[in-house]
């Protein structure tokens, strides 16, 4: 690493240092050598407006530490100054906002996981005006008044004043949140992929690697993911052991090379397995571009991987726990393992004069390695009564004093950075030690999150002072997360899963995780949850107030609710809860682990589903024709339908009036292609349909159609349509636009499971057939010349297959307008030319195109219902005045029609309404009452289902569902409205041509 390029780097660093007027000596805490950073590649970055230098391979945290910066954030509640606690995903304190251009601002990112890139710009959060001078810290002064849950007990004010909502809540909300949400839409892309494998291994530490090597060599399809930029886990800092005869880090490189050469194995760095869902379905979030200074155009920012794995292997390691002591939250207090990570991975000394306090052996490694790097390790305080074994011995040999059985009693802050710690010895004597970092360890908690997602049982383990995951079918935990304490054990467990021989390990200093002796300091600010400022006292208070379950304590104190989800603090929270209630930790248990393991970007989960990919837009084969005619479209379910065709300057109302008038006077043409169509074939087709529809269909003659209504088994109208009998065994059935899929499913349900003996089959032809409705007195005239058969005598409700304008067509003489009319079905490709041909003839005689709005008006004039408008799932055919199939022995829904409520005379029935003032239009949804100004709480008699201006009648009309409606014909009622009632007269629902003369014309 050191060489010409290193020199260049140093030169540049000096230059930059001068450029910033020597404000900071760049990289002052960087070691001369070592670490896995690229010292030749300087990266400039900015934190809170000040420029610094770091190296390629740094995280933001390591780069800040390299520059001697410890103060990086403020806590949520009391705005206490906070430093960097950890070196990884568990970080509770060091949260920052990253800014890129425009909408690319991201709050609440952990500095410990942000990979440094050239030009990175970060700002601290939850402080005003600056990190060092934060007025929010005044909250600390009021801290005695703000214990856990204080707001439940106060902030109400006098009854009726609503002071909570008007005054206190807005005040509280000012303090809400950590960072600021972006104010611009996110310009980045996100991608999602599914994948499958035999083995998904989460965590590429020694355990995961050993498992991957073994499974890979067996030929299994393996995915090995690790949240970090560099796979390796603890191997990255393993500088002593030989694995398979070579240094551990070489073994890592060799293993990764071997894995990458296997076509059946995929290693995915920067990929967090964030959740394990039912049936071994894992969610992985891959960070693709966040570490790049200039992300490419095409790359998504992140990818969601949904992995289905036959076997899931969890090798997620363990998370170190901080110690509990008064003021344990100061910048400069850091996990011992993290300090070692910073040294060995990033070449950063977290301090020059450090004190180490531990309840666990692994911190001795930190002492040794820091000392070797020239850091003054003043003392190692071991909370345990004795410190024996190879590690303490090595430390003593290195000349570092060890105090056993002691306690940390306090810390002192100078210029918002730790400057000394007060240690208490077993014999009661105390002493302040000057230091610029206090490195702590309180043992490790196995990272059992994903196992817990999969509902693996959790077993209390005294040695770890934590819960270890048991195994369940398809999910295995190995390595530190399953309680392995040594490298050899971790490798062995990984290999053993696939019955392989693990590589031998030599010259390893043993590492025994400490039991969870949690020092419960009695007084002072002992922080358990650093992010949410939950103290030991808060927990004791909660338990004292009756919140005895850890779930209660969590919710009352907000402990573990933060963005770190209590990764470092929860075990202490559980233990303190247990202690306060006189129970053993095993009795108290844990709170529930929930996905995600670490937070996942909304965009990653939403993936590419934006704009038209959010939900498919369906268009008919005639869509372009409608566009060309300047149609205004409406969304009907997923479909775009032409609502009306305005001519220059026309309002919708004018256009619709014109379309209706022209259709009734001459003819109109309408794209009805969205109607659902089902081909029903087979010897029992008629019987089948007869059982599904209210209407009698067995007797329907080939060549004829019938309007038919379909009920749910509960007796409510579900859909309607035309049943056309083409031949003895062959029907063409239409459904509503929105009902197509539902109806087919309903039919299949009965066909397959109720009447499997019927020989009948169903095929959806919705998309095959385009449908052009041609309606109006001149419809026949327009159509005849295009037909290659004589249709002049085709009666109403007849159907024929014939050739029209060269296209194989299915012609039905049906009408939804009340006019003589046809619906021409042609295969989709033939629709545009047919449309053109009809359009030309239509234009010649003064006909029109019409859209859904005019269609609605015309059908309302005729009293035809629309499913979803006149019906809402509570309406029976009887309510609508439709046949009820009384003569038929059974059909779906029939039995329900005789339930007591269905026979009540006050059921809401379909009627027409005529306003006394014909110019007044009713509002759809408006309520019917008997008085002009009903007092509040008056029950409604019904409601307006449809209301239009009727061009045919030259006045407003409406349809309504009205209690006992058919007995109220002629009655005067009111439609309630904000400006008083509107008088209406109840009328039959058919306003136009009740005899059907036009229809049969």
């Amino acid at each position: 690493m050191i060489g010409a390029s290193r020199q260049e780097g140093m030169m540049q660093r000096l230059l930059v240092g001068r450029m910033f007027q020597g404000r900071l000596v760049p990289d002052s805490m960087r070691t001369e050598a070592g670490g896995r950073i690229d010292r030749a590649r300087d990266l400039r970055f900015r934190f809170d407006g000040v420029d610094y230098l770091g190296c390629e391979g740094d995280t933001l945290a390591s780069a800040l530490l390299a520059n001697g910066i410890h103060l990086v954030g403020r806590s949520f509640k009391y705005h206490r100054p906070r430093g960097i606690l950890s070196a990884g995903a568990e970080e509770p304190n060091a949260l920052v906002t990253l800014r890129r251009d425009g909408g690319r601002t991201t709050p609440n990112l952990r500095a410990t996981q942000i990979e440094l890139y050239e030009g990175l710009e970060a700002t601290s959060q939850n402080r005003w005006p600056s990190l060092s001078t934060d007025f929010g810290a005044l909250a600390s002064l009021a801290a005695p008044l703000l214990p856990a849950g204080f707001f439940y007990k106060t902030m109400l004010g006098p009854r009726g004043w609503k002071l909570w909502h008007r005054l206190f809540e807005p005040l509280l909300r000012r303090g809400a949140g950590l960072g600021h949400a972006p104010t611009q839409p996110d310009p980045d892309r996100y991608a999602r992929y599914h994948d499958h494998c035999d083995v998904l291994i989460v965590g590429a530490g020694p355990a995961g690697l050993a498992a991957a090597l073994a499974a890979g060599r067996e030929g299994q399809r393996v995915i090995l993911c690790d949240e970090q930029a560099e796979p390796g886990g603890t191997l990255l800092t393993e500088i002593r052991a030989l694995v398979d005869g070579i240094p551990a880090r070489e073994f890592l490189a060799r293993s990764l090379a071997e894995l990458s050469a296997m076509p059946n194995v995929r290693v995915m760095p920067r990929t967090t397995a964030f959740g394990l869902y039912p049936h071994n379905h894992a969610g992985l979030a891959e960070r693709v571009t966040d570490h790049l200074a200039a992300p490419g155009q095409d790359l998504p920012r992140e990818r969601l991987w949904q992995i289905r794995a036959a076997r899931v292997v969890l090798a997620t390691g363990a998370i170190e726990r901080p110690l509990l002591f008064p003021n344990n939250d100061r910048p400069g207090v850091m996990l011992a393992g993290a300090a070692r990570d910073y040294l060995l991975r990033y070449g950063v000394k977290v301090g020059n004069h450090v004190v180490i306090a531990t309840a666990c052996d692994s911190a001795y490694l930190t002492a040794l390695d820091l000392a070797a790097a020239g850091v003054e390790v003043k003392v190692v305080l071991d909370l345990r009564s004795s410190a024996e074994g190879p590690l303490p011995e090595a430390v003593r040999k290195a000349g570092i004093p060890i105090l056993t059985g002691g306690r940390v009693l306090g810390t002192h802050l100078r210029r918002l950075r730790l400057d000394s710690v007060l240690l208490g010895r077993a014999d009661g004597r105390t002493r302040w030690f000057d230091c610029d970092a206090l490195l702590v360890s309180n043992g490790h908690t196995p990272t059992a999150h994903l196992a817990a997602h999969a509902r693996a049982p959790m077993h209390w383990n005294d040695t770890w002072g934590a819960f270890l995951p048991g195994s369940i079918e398809g999910v295995a935990s190995i390595g530190a997360c399953a309680g392995a304490t040594t490298l050899a054990e971790a490798l062995a467990q990984g290999a053993a899963l696939f019955a392989a021989v693990p590589p031998p390990v030599e010259a390893e200093l043993p590492i025994a995780p400490a039991p969870g002796t949690l020092q419960g300091a009695e007084t002072g600010c002992v922080f358990v949850d650093l992010q949410n400022d939950v103290t030991a006292q808060d927990i004791r208070m909660a338990v004292g107030e009756g919140f005895r379950s850890v779930e209660h304590v969590k919710r009352y104190t907000a402990g573990g609710l933060g963005t770190d989800q209590g990764k470092t603090g929860n075990m202490a929270l559980f233990a303190l809860t247990a202690a306060a209630s006189g129970l053993a930790p095993a009795q108290v248990g844990t709170t529930t682990f929930r996905p995600p393991y670490t937070p996942v970007t909304f965009g990653t989960l939403a993936g590419p589903a934006r704009g038209d990919l959010f939900d498919p837009v369906r268009t008919t084969p005639l869509h372009d024709k409608a566009v060309a005619e300047a149609a205004v479209f409406e969304d009907v379910g997923p479909w775009k339908r032409a609502r009306y065709f305005p001519r220059k300057g026309e309002t919708m109302h004018e256009a619709v009036a014109r379309e209706v008038a022209a259709t009734r006077a001459t003819a109109g043409m309408f794209d009805a292609s969205t109607l659902g169509k089902i081909e029903v074939m087979g010897p029992d087709a008629a019987e089948f349909l007869n059982r599904l529809y209210v209407n009698a269909l067995t007797g329907l003659k080939p060549g004829s159609c019938r309007y038919a209504v379909m009920l749910s088994e509960a007796g409510f109208v579900m859909d309607d349509g035309i049943v056309a009998r083409l031949a003895e065994n062959h029907f063409h059935v239409t459904t509503t636009t929105g009902g197509a899929a539902r109806v087919l499913h309903h039919m299949e349900d009965y066909r397959q499971t109720e009447w499997p003996d019927l020989r009948v089959w169903l095929t959806s032809t919705t998309e095959h057939w385009a449908v052009i409705a041609l309606q109006g007195p001149k419809a026949r005239e327009i159509l005849i010349p295009l037909c290659e058969a004589d249709i002049s005598a085709l009666p109403h409700m007849a159907v024929r297959d014939l050739t029209i304008a060269g296209a194989p067509a299915r012609l039905m003489r049906v009408s939804f307008t009340g006019e003589l009319g046809f619906e021409v079905n042609v295969p989709a490709r033939h629709a545009p030319p047919l449309w053109d041909a009809l359009r030309a003839r239509l234009a010649a005689i003064g006909g029109t195109l019409y859209g859904t709005e005019a269609m609605h008006v015309m059908r309302a004039e005729k009293g035809y219902i629309i499913i979803g408008q006149e019906t809402d799932g509570t309406v029976t055919p009887g309510d609508l005045g439709l046949p009820e199939g009384r003569a038929k022995p059974d059909f779906v829904g029939k039995r329900s029609l005789t339930r007591p409520d269905m026979l009540l005379p006050d059921r809401r029935q379909l009627v027409g309404l005529l306003t006394e003032n014909p110019a007044v239009m009713l509002e759809e949804g408006a309520q019917l009452v008997t008085e002009a100004s009903p007092p509040p709480g008056t029950p409604a008699l019904g409601h307006v289902t449809s209301a239009y201006h009727s061009p045919a009648l030259g006045r407003s009309i409406a349809l309504a569902l009205l209690a006992g409606g058919r007995t109220r014909l002629g009655q005067r009622l009111f439609v309630a409205g904000p400006r008083g009632g509107i008088a209406v007269t109840v009328a039959p629902p058919v306003f136009l041509d009740p005899e059907g003369a036009r229809l049969h014309g």
């Binding site: 869902y277 379905h281 949904q306 397959q752 022995p889 039995r895 005789t898 339930r899």
Partner: protein, 91 residues
Amino acid sequence: MLIIRCPYCEANRPEPEFRHAGAAHIVRPLDPSATTDAEWAEFLYHRDNPRGTVAERWRHIHGCGRFFNALRDTVSDRILSTYPAGQGRPE
């Protein structure tokens, strides 16, 4: 997203291909008109909804289109078996 074995496709398939169709083995009375209102309500609405093994219907709607039945543990969501519609509930 569950993984469900379709007895007709003879393969494990992902949940989005299926539509859940409620409790299985609910027999539609042969002559509904002969049922009392209470019996009819039982048929329409009342369900065991067990905490434990449930027999339920699925349709492989984005697959072979078939309805079939599954036994599933509603606590672990583990599927114990799947079998064709019309076949009795396995032990």
